[in-house]
């Protein structure tokens, strides 16, 4: 039975109105396109999610007045998002940073604007990038990571090469990222197209569980399942190995597959001034120092020293991959996913 309560309606109405007001404020406050005096940079990035906030904090120590609004996206989500927005006529991103294989697709599509920071790390020999898009944030090495304890428990030898993972003993016991086209691209550079495709098919036929990211792959390996991952990044594997030495180890191959992470200005960036400031900082010595110390990534600046476990070109000479034409990109994606039996 209901007890009469005459003011209930009024209360409900007030509460509803208040809520909507809050929602409106919330959305206007977070709107990317606000033209207020506050300096804002919208940063689309593939930095690991727990590295994003410390990087911004480090930037803000030097530039406290510029507010960086990050949108973290996975490596394969990022280009799609930028392109979809721009085709819809929304230019939301000021700064885009991500893997060269994906970012070069954005460069090809004309979704990024050329910009030359005054002080940037040199491009490695053999890499080709169009002029105006030379901003390299870090180099990324792909490694095999495994859980030594678990590998031992399963009476297996730690994997030394990717070929090891194609053996029947490793069936279903290592993971792979079905979106890691840069890995495939690297292997093509190293061993040629035919052999690389055969290797990918060998890996795919071993029915590896799919992972969504390199970092997730490492977490799973640390927990002991699966035993190894074919697509880990060296920087993260090295820092995780330090944290849990018994549960993670990794192998740097020779030559070492290495790709570049680029930082570029978005086309029609809504805040070009602060965006350039942000890119300049990221490429500068201070910025690169932060990249190395916060994320353990590899800086290409000669005046910065990197983690020797990750980067030692004399011991593990890198095999560079850079930009990729749209045709080749589509072909590689198709070959790679088919080899892994992604429908």
């Amino acid at each position: 039975m209901l007890v009469p309560r005459p003011r209930r309606w009024a209360l409900a109405a007030v509460a509803g109105a208040a809520l909507l007001a809050v929602a409106a404020c919330g959305s206007s406050g977070s709107g990317g396109g606000s033209k207020s005096n506050a300096q804002v940079v919208v940063w689309y990035t593939t930095f690991a999610s727990d590295d994003v906030s410390p990087m911004i904090a480090a930037f803000n120590k030097q530039y406290p007045k510029i507010k960086v609004q990050p949108l973290r996206l996975s490596a394969d989500q990022l280009p799609t998002r930028v392109i979809t927005e721009q085709r819809g006529g929304k230019f939301n991103a000021d700064v885009v940073s991500g893997e060269s294989v994906y970012v070069s697709q954005l460069i090809n599509a004309g979704a990024l604007a050329p910009y030359n920071p005054p002080d940037e790390p040199p491009l490695p020999k053999g890499s080709t990038l169009p002029p105006g898009y030379h901003g390299v944030v870090y180099a990324n090495t792909t490694v095999i990571a495994y859980n030594p304890k678990a590998v031992k428990a399963h009476h297996l030898q730690p994997p030394k090469t990717w070929q090891d993972l194609t053996k029947p003993a490793w069936k279903g016991k290592f993971s792979i990222d079905p979106g890691a086209v840069n890995f495939y691209q690297s292997m093509i550079t190293i061993m040629g197209h035919t052999k690389a495709l055969a290797l990918m098919k060998g890996l795919g036929d071993n029915k590896p569980p799919f992972v969504e990211s390199h970092t997730q792959a490492l977490t799973q390996v640390q927990a002991g399942e699966p035993l190894a991952t074919a697509t880990a990044y060296g920087y993260k594997a090295a820092s995780e190995e330090k944290k849990t030495p018994g549960q993670l180890a990794f192998v740097n191959a020779n030559p070492l597959p290495t790709s570049l992470s680029l930082i570029d200005l978005g086309k029609n960036a809504p805040h070009p001034g602060p965006a350039k400031t942000f890119i300049n900082w990221m490429e500068s010595k201070q910025g690169q120092q932060q990249v190395v110390s916060i994320t353990n990534h590899v800086s290409l600046r000669p005046d910065i020293s990197n983690d020797p476990m990750v980067w030692n070109p004399s011991k593990w000479p890198p095999s560079w991959v850079g930009a990729l034409s749209p045709t080749l990109y589509n072909q590689y994606v198709k070959e790679y996913t088919q080899a892994l039996h992604v429908p």
Binding site: W9, G26, S49, S53, L71
Partner: protein, 582 residues
């Protein structure tokens, strides 16, 4: 026959104004606005999807034309048959398992003397507040093939391990997630059934078993079918389980295919559109069939007077009934929550063990509290979910009024429109809304704001709001409103002072449920967030795919606590009004 036939003068506007013609009454204005809102909400994502499936190039600056080529290429592509088989296998099995389980539990609660009914009811409903993404994450950890504690237990007692990254694994997790909805529908069906119908069968010489089979089951069959259909549609259209469980284990379904096509570069809008239309078509056929099957029954309203569902005495078996609930509670609530709590209290993820006990810490919660982006996503989730709850409740109250109480032409169409979003996979909804607000020539840019998320949540939860409010509305006799009108109250006064208070139980229930739906929604949100408008469910997914399990778990604990708190508050409000939330 009519005295004015053939010589009817045109109504003069002046007279209309003076006498309050129907055009000017606030009632018609409100109804019209609500109807237009529903029309807009329901049609935008569907239409965008259809257009995307039929254009040679969508969202493109170059020339494009109308074509069926996407249909041809998608349906004939290699692996499409497997995709259809997987999707149907997954959705049908989930619908079967969750409907049987939900209705079985509902029968125990409403038609037997199973003890501790309050506990039983709560046991079946609590899973509602565990967001699907968390449920999935928790089960992925619990049932990890080698390291999952449950599989270790199975192995310890000599049983084979259960590989969760498989079709049965997907069915199991999704069933745990949707069973509460089937349970709710089952309780409604069983309690609205007149006991005398069964008693008539018994007194005709039928054994209790054959009375149950031939009368009870027959009577709930429409409810069973419509519940199963709903479970099917929910399963075929949501994102979490296919993406988190299906993809790692190589089981691809429609939703993962759509998600995949969107990650291609350039995105394959055509395939997305085609699969979206295909799923919509299947769901619409199902809805249409269910409506045909339940026709005539849907209009029956329970009189409430002298009404007493019969209770079957289970004898000693009633403790078995209680045990069933205990088991369900353990599996659907205790295990996943315990897993989340355990992971939330560890600095880095590791399977439960005694040795890890001394590592327990609140560090993850501190981390959340000190990370602005995480705090913002909590805030955004609260704002969007509560706003969506309020808007859906208000909107579906008005729409239900039109469809149930009025005789306005086109009300059946409006009802259909308000139900449409159920048939649109949330992931397609997200994409459709994204495309529309990117290209639509609107005066305000909604892209990148919370408003676009609220719009998506409102659209998605509108059918659920209707499901609560239409029956609630039907139970209020027309005469109660007419008595107010005849007492001199305007329509607004009557709606406010008579209708709304009587509707309060349904309103509260609708608010609670739609808010929960919005809070845990991810399938659409994943496409709509930008910097500053990240919501909790997306953050959870993002952190999960980055392997940051402890923070995922800590966020999950916060989500569940918040939802539990809201549910409790609404329940208390209902209790103060003397209403049991159904």
């Amino acid at each position: 026959m009519s005295i004015t036939a053939g010589q009817r003068p045109r109504p003069r506007l002046a007279t209309s104004l003076l006498t309050g013609s129907r055009r000017l009454e606030p009632r018609y204005l409100i109804l019209a606005v609500a109807a237009l809102a529903v029309l807009y909400l329901a049609l935008v994502p569907v239409a965008t999807m259809v257009v995307a499936s039929l254009r040679s190039a969508f969202l493109s600056t170059g020339a494009s034309h109308w074509t069926f080529s996407h249909y041809a290429s998608t349906f004939t592509s290699a692996g499409f048959g497997q995709l259809v088989a997987n999707s149907f296998g997954y959705a049908i099995a989930t619908a079967a398992v969750s409907t049987c389980l939900g209705f079985g539990l509902a029968w125990l609660v409403s038609r037997t003397n199973t003890p501790a009914k309050t506990f039983a009811r709560a046991a079946a409903l609590v899973p509602l507040i565990i967001p699907g993404i968390l449920n999935t994450v928790a089960w992925a950890l619990l049932l990890a093939p080698r390291t999952g504690p449950l599989n270790q237990l199975l192995r310890a007692i000599g049983l084979p391990a259960f590989n969760v990254y498989s079709l049965p694994g997907m069915v199991f997790i999704q069933s745990m997630h949707v069973t509460p909805i089937a349970f709710l529908m089952g309780v409604a069906a069983f309690t609205s059934m007149d006991a005398s119908l069964e008693e008539a069968a018994l007194s005709s010489g039928a054994s209790p078993w054959s009375a149950f089979r031939k009368v009870t089951l027959r009577l709930v069959r429409p409810a069973v079918l419509s519940a199963a259909l709903l479970m099917f549609i929910q399963s075929i259209s949501t994102f979490e389980v296919p993406q988190l469980i299906g993809v790692p284990g190589h089981t691809f379904v429609f939703v993962s295919k759509i998600y995949d096509a969107l990650q291609l570069f350039p995105p394959d809008y055509g395939t997305v559109g085609v699969i979206g239309v295909f799923v919509l078509f299947i769901a619409a056929c199902g809805l249409w069939a269910a409506q045909r099957l339940t026709r005539g029954r849907a209009t029956q309203t329970v009189t409430g007077k002298g009404f007493r569902p019969s209770v079957t005495d289970l004898g000693r078996w009633r403790y078995a009934g209680l045990a069933v609930f205990g088991l369900f509670f353990l599996i659907a609530v205790v295990l996943p929550l315990a897993m989340l709590l355990w992971s939330a209290l560890l600095p880095g993820y590791e399977p439960p063990s005694a040795s890890a006990l001394h590592d327990l810490t609140l560090g993850n919660f501190r981390h959340i509290w000190t990370t602005p982006s995480l705090v913002r996503s909590v805030r955004n989730s609260v704002i969007t979910a509560v706003s969506a709850g309020v808007i859906v409740t208000a909107l579906s109250a008005v729409v239900a009024y039109i469809t149930v109480k009025s005789r306005i032409r086109g009300r059946a169409l409006l009802d259909g429109l308000a139900t449409t979003p159920i048939a649109v996979p949330s992931i397609v909804m997200g994409v459709g809304i994204l495309y529309w607000y990117l290209v639509a020539p609107l005066p305000v840019h909604l892209y990148g704001t919370l408003v676009i998320l609220i719009l998506a949540f409102v659209t998605i939860s509108l059918p659920y709001g209707m499901r609560y409010l239409a029956p609630g509305m039907a139970q209020i006799k027309d005469e109660l409103e007419e008595a107010a009108t005849a007492s001199g109250a305007s329509w607004l006064q009557a709606f406010r002072r008579v209708f709304l208070p009587l509707l309060m139980p349904s309103l509260l229930a609708a608010f609670l449920y739609t808010m929960i739906v919005a809070f845990r929604e991810i399938s659409a949100a994943i496409f709509l967030y930008t910097q500053g408008s990240v919501v909790l469910s997306v953050t959870v997914y993002d952190l999960w795919s980055n392997g940051d399990y402890p923070v995922v778990a800590a966020l999950g604990v916060i989500m569940v606590l918040f939802l539990a708190l809201v549910a409790l508050l609404v329940q208390r409000m209902g209790a103060r009004l003397g209403i049991g939330i159904r």
